[in-house]
């Protein structure tokens, strides 16, 4: 059975989420029973959704690259659920569950993975380019680190307009070695932008351990730019939630940019073509994390230990997660492929009345 206190947490500013259970008041770590069940339901949905995507990939319903978030669900729920609806999230390409957490319906995410018109990007983006600006989800970016300056720009726009939203910009641990990261942190500090940079530190950039490509610890990477660093255990969704809840309010209040090293672990390969364990990490290592650091079993056990979750309730919640994932796949299956006549749509927002925009002799009707 999983234990709640495994992951190596250093310098965390959030209070430890250990022994503050209050069964009499039906509360744990300040969360009500309903809120706790909600977080469990969220994470189980992410898990079942990704398992369904894995299955669909295996039978060819999903193509291209497909990066699963299994093992890292505590961060999707814990970092995004505390945000306001009008806060902004931008991220890299392991983003299916983050998109759902911010409010894109699972149906629209799955249909996008299937490349169908019902997808949140109309089938034009795919797994790595999920977007729905109506819920504040700005992608879905495929170049490591490429989303970081964009996140700074979203935060710039918030400040420019005098708004009080925050932008949460996720990245993998390998992205901190990109120049885009360094430049963006510096600009964010100079201009005191309302942005929280979150490293989903699962220890590996594809198959390369972080320690092999950095002689410094993750925590020190933002210090050179004057940006406060925090470390949080991303496998503990309650700690993570409380931490981001507080941090978002501080940034909203003018605390400036923040850097969060969120410790997590990827239970699947880098992408669907990468085995779970093998050349760069051992079976034993993966097994140890599966046993001790599954964010879902950690929460489940804590709730059960605290008398806040019955077996039947768990089964009901899980059944709903499975049903929603099945429903998403059914929806995606039924959604049509994009109409071939739309190939040239949305290359340009403005089709100028003069001149030709497409030089291939095929897009003539568009300019």
């Amino acid at each position: 059975m999983a234990q709640a206190t495994q992951a190596p947490v250093k310098n965390g500013e959030a209070p430890a989420a250990g022994d503050d259970r209050d069964p009499a008041a039906n509360r744990l770590h300040g969360f009500s029973r309903e809120e706790l069940h909600g977080l469990l339901a969220d994470m189980l949905l992410y898990r079942r959704f990704e398992e369904k995507a894995e299955e669909a990939y295996a039978i060819g319903r999903i193509g291209g690259f497909c990066h699963l978030h299994i093992g890292q669900e505590g961060l999707a729920a814990g970092a995004i659920k505390p945000l306001r609806a009008d806060d902004l999230v931008i991220t890299a390409y392991r983003e299916h569950t983050q998109a759902i957490a911010k409010g894109i319906p699972p149906r629209a995410v799955m249909a996008e993975l299937y490349g169908r018109v019902g997808g949140c990007s109309g089938g034009r983006g795919g797994s790595m380019h999920l977007f729905d600006t109506t819920v504040g989800f700005y992608g879905g970016h495929g170049i490591v680190g490429g989303q970081i300056p964009l996140g700074a720009g979203l935060a710039w726009a918030i400040r420019y307009r005098g708004g009080d939203q925050v932008c949460v910009c996720f990245m993998g641990d390998a992205a901190v070695n990109q120049g885009a990261f360094l430049e963006s942190l510096n600009m964010s500090a100079v201009w005191q932008l309302p942005v929280i940079y979150v490293v989903e530190n699962n220890g590996y950039g594809m198959g390369t351990a972080f320690s092999r490509v950095s002689v410094t610890e993750m925590e020190v990477r933002s210090g050179a730019y004057g940006i406060p660093a925090h470390t949080v255990n991303g496998q503990d969704v309650l700690e993570t939630y409380r931490f981001f809840e507080g941090l978002a309010e501080r940034v909203r209040g003018g605390a400036g940019p923040q850097f969060v090293n969120a410790i997590t672990y990827r239970f699947r390969g880098h992408s669907m073509s990468d085995p779970v364990s093998g050349t760069y990490r051992s079976k034993e290592e993966v097994e140890a994390h599966l046993q001790g650091e599954d964010p879902i079993t950690i929460l489940r056990d804590r709730l059960m230990d605290a008398g806040l979750l019955a077996q039947e309730e768990l089964e009901t919640i899980d059944a709903a997660a499975r049903a929603a994932s099945e429903d998403a796949a059914d929806f995606a299956d039924a959604s049509p492929q994009p109409d071939p006549s739309t190939l040239y749509d949305h290359v340009y927002a403005e089709i100028n009345p003069h001149g030709r925009l497409f030089l291939d002799g095929r897009g003539g009707s568009h300019g």
Partner: protein, 342 residues
């Protein structure tokens, strides 16, 4: 010089520099739209590396005229991110040569965003700055960068050659809902010309016939318009009337104007500042042979920079740059005239 027929009538004009015209366009657009801001290296307190933004910090304040760190990738991406949120950034590169550091954000983010979001996220922004060679700036500061931008669907590109075009095209670029690169020229900033005082916008995608002629078409863009006009004057001394078609906008491309000129003269020379391999001229030649093959009386020739990095030594630089003499020779060749002028 052919005027811009768009305005018609007799609008009040002033003779100003190309630099001042760009400044006027930015001020014109910043006055009418608070979502427009200027960001780049040295644009605020220094008044711009080439003084294009002179006085704008005092006029608009540091919220809207912003000095950036020397971080081309970072600040270009920040501007794209701001545009994702609906602002209209003017991102100044001190030269487009430096924008190679930023090309990931130009191509992977700005150009592709609208498409991969299925139309949800337009990028209404401008990348601007000088392109091409000045005088003895050597290999890394002299490159014509048009090809890199115009290659990507999703990007628009204009190359004003005159002060009036600078004002009108930059204004149109700022108002356009797509990412538009506005490529200027260090050697153009001091060029003077008549520019309408009033609000002035030239639609993208409209070429301008800078000189009419019946014998041969010199089609070109940007700074090379001036070389083409000099060549046309030299040819006129031999009683050859060359017309000079300034494309002004490479994407959208005024194909009708190109085809009309080909139909009129049946002989074409494409002049550009960049390298020949996969250059802008290669696209124009392809277009003409696709759509106007029967109008041609001679193969289309290109005059480009020599296919070498720009050398520093003055004599070698002169050899590498496309000049009047090479244009005249190319025109004589497509006219099947023997010999060359000296």
């Amino acid at each position: 010089m052919g005027g811009s027929s768009w305005m018609g009538g007799a609008a009040p004009m002033a003779e100003i520099t190309y630099r001042e015209a760009l400044n006027a366009a930015m001020c014109q657009e910043m006055d009418r739209d608070d979502s427009v801001f200027l960001l780049g290296e040295e644009v605020a307190e220094y008044d711009g590396a080439y003084k294009v933004s002179r006085g704008m910090l005092a006029r608009y304040g540091d919220r809207r005229v912003v000095d950036s760190p020397i971080s081309e990738l970072g600040f270009a991406g920040l501007c794209v991110g701001a545009a994702m949120s609906g602002l209209r950034p003017i991102c100044e590169f001190m030269t487009f040569n430096f924008s190679f550091l930023a090309l990931d954000q130009v191509i992977n983010s700005a150009a592709k965003m609208l498409y991969m979001t299925n139309g949800q996220v337009p990028i209404p922004m401008v990348f601007r700055g000088p392109t091409g060679a000045a005088l003895q700036l050597s290999a890394q500061h002299s490159q014509a960068c048009e090809t890199y931008y115009v290659h990507a669907p999703g990007v628009k590109l204009v190359t004003p050659a005159t002060p009036a075009d600078a004002k009108g095209l930059l204004a149109a670029a700022i108002r356009d809902d797509d990412p538009v690169a506005v490529m200027e020229g260090e050697l153009l900033y001091n060029v003077r010309g008549e520019v309408p005082d009033e609000e002035y916008v030239i639609p993208l995608g409209v070429a301008d016939l800078k000189r009419a002629g019946d014998d041969v078409s010199i089609i070109t863009h940007g700074k090379m318009v001036h070389v083409a006009l000099q060549a046309a004057r030299a040819l006129a001394r031999e009683e050859i009337e060359a017309e000079v078609l300034d494309l002004r906008s490479l994407r959208p491309l005024d194909v009708d104007a190109i085809l009309a000129s080909v139909a009129k003269t049946n002989r074409v020379v494409y002049l550009e500042e960049g390298w020949p391999f996969a250059g802008v001229g290669a696209q124009i030649v392809s277009l003409i042979q696709d759509e106007a093959f029967d109008d041609l009386d001679a193969p289309v020739l290109r005059v480009t920079q020599a296919d070498v990095p720009m050398p520093y030594a003055k004599n070698l630089e002169q050899l590498a740059k496309p000049g009047v003499k090479a244009v005249v020779e190319a025109c004589r060749k497509v006219l099947y005239m023997p010999g060359t002028i000296t």
